[in-house]
């Protein structure tokens, strides 16, 4: 299977282990990711908060590039996914603005989790599992933009999604049902509204711990960064001691597939997940 790949800006930096694990997992599953040539930033929240034209035109350029390749476009970032889907809808409705690009809408735009949840890949994934994640208690954290608004991103279950939960179960992990699957991590508020941000991530971490989770599984670079890099800071602010590992779901896929590089991905985390994985006999 060959698809166009839109990595998004953070995969070159803070989300490096997401990119590395995606590459490894796709190799295992015979998925050929062809990076979109000369892609540009989707504009993220800053564009839609500032200028309507910019918020559509920036991702639209990428859509036009992808359509030239005639392959479905896959992105690992929930925010990029949301902006690309929003632009797709705006172009389909041909709002009065001339964006200067042609996009017929002949290709599908997918978040990489959706790609792995396609029927033809489900069996393939199960066959690749050589080291089941037995005994690992996870909560799946979908965040906002992977599922909302459902009219844009075409989510089937937006209040209680379960695609990631099913995937974790297929890898042998225990996926605990919890009520904060789609709560907000605060996004860029990490830099601009620190008190609100602390409140948001604090309640997610507290609920995960209350649910009995040993780790949180994410499918978005921003959700990951906001949780993994800020636990120490939050602990200081609240006088508590958070130490809950957070994973990209593709890292756990790679681990279950027996990938030799998994250790290097985990070494990039701020909250060290290796004691947990060693205790479970997974590393």
């Amino acid at each position: 299977m060959k698809v166009s790949f839109f990595p998004g800006c953070s995969l070159e930096g803070t989300a490096r282990e997401y990119g590395e694990s995606i590459e490894a997992v796709c190799k295992n599953l015979d998925i050929d990711l062809e990076e979109l040539p000369d892609w540009n930033c989707c504009g993220a929240s800053s564009a839609h908060c500032t200028n309507e034209f910019l918020s559509v035109a920036l991702p639209a350029r990428n859509l036009a590039l992808a359509e030239e390749s005639r392959q479905d476009l896959v992105t690992p970032c929930a925010a990029c996914f949301s902006r690309l889907k929003t632009a797709e809808k705006a172009l389909a409705e041909e709002k009065d603005i001339d964006l200067g690009v042609s996009f017929r809408g002949d290709i599908n735009i997918l978040h990489i989790l959706e790609l792995f949840c396609r029927d033809e890949l489900t069996d393939h994934i199960e066959q690749q599992v050589t080291k089941p994640l037995a005994g690992l208690k996870t909560v799946c954290y979908y965040g906002c933009l992977l599922v909302r608004p459902p009219k844009i991103v075409a989510a089937r279950h937006w209040e209680d999604p379960h695609t990631l939960d099913r995937l974790m179960t297929a890898l042998g992990a225990e996926s605990i049902h919890w009520p904060y699957k789609t709560e907000c991590c605060g996004g860029s508020m990490v830099l601009t509204n620190t008190d609100i941000f602390h409140h948001l991530i604090g309640r997610i971490l507290d609920m995960a711990i209350e649910a009995g989770a040993e780790c949180i599984v994410t499918a978005c670079p921003l959700c990951m960064a906001n949780l993994d890099t800020r636990e120490e800071e939050l602990s200081e602010a609240k006088g508590t001691n958070y130490n809950l590992p957070v994973f990209y779901f593709t890292e756990l896929m790679g681990l279950a597939f027996g990938d030799q590089d998994a250790g290097t991905w985990f070494n990039r985390h701020i909250v060290d997940p290796t004691p947990l994985l060693k205790a479970k006999g997974l590393l």
Partner: protein
């Protein structure tokens, strides 16, 4: 919120701009408060989302654009998703933020627009966002660095930055995509659009 007819502004130009972008569904709001009930950051807002919609319908431009609501909204899309009348409330917030920034009036939470300016500046420069230089730009221009030098908050930033660097998560130099000319053209078009 009791309806006070005296606060209804008869000049509808402000409301018209919003209706044009959002659609006429906004008139269907029956103040069920579902948006405010599900909002994860409502505790931080001086005017709740359902009250904002009412105020927009009343043409209360000054009140709405001065609210901190538009700057603490996280764009999580919960309100839009749950609205029984299909009102794109998150997009109303977008339009209000755009109008507030265009108005040139000082924001109640200036750091948010300063962040957006740094982020968009980074895209304009390289076509993609180089996280490290974007953060530096934001930190300097917003006064965040100055503030942290006073409070000692810089120590935590340095500690975290060092950890990220040692773990290979900080890319030191930006990647300039060859498409940067295309991207700058889009920014110029956006400016023209605003003027129109």
């Amino acid at each position: 919120m009791p309806i006070q007819t005296s606060v209804v502004n008869k000049d509808t130009r402000f409301r018209d701009i919003i209706v044009e972008t959002i659609g006429p569904e906004i008139f269907d709001c029956y103040q069920c408060s579902k948006c405010s009930a599900g909002c994860p950051v409502s505790f931080s807002m001086d005017i709740l989302p359902h009250q904002m919609i009412r105020s927009v319908l009343f043409n209360q431009q000054e009140k709405v654009l001065a609210a901190n609501t538009i700057w603490t909204c996280a764009s999580c899309e919960t309100c839009t998703t749950r609205c029984p009348n299909d009102i794109d409330i998150a997009k109303v917030m977008d339009v209000l933020r755009q109008l507030q920034q265009e108005s040139g009036r000082p924001s109640t939470v200036p750091k948010v627009s300063q962040f957006h300016a740094a982020f968009l500046g980074a895209i304009q420069k390289n076509g993609r966002v180089h996280e490290l230089s974007m953060m530096q730009d934001f930190s300097l221009k917003s006064g965040d660095l100055k503030e942290k030098l006073k409070t000692g908050g810089w120590k935590n930033d340095v500690k975290l930055g060092l950890k990220m660097f040692l773990r290979g998560k900080l890319k030191l130099l930006p990647h300039k995509c060859r498409a940067v000319a295309d991207v700058r053209k889009i920014f110029n078009q956006a400016k023209e659009h605003k003027k129109a």
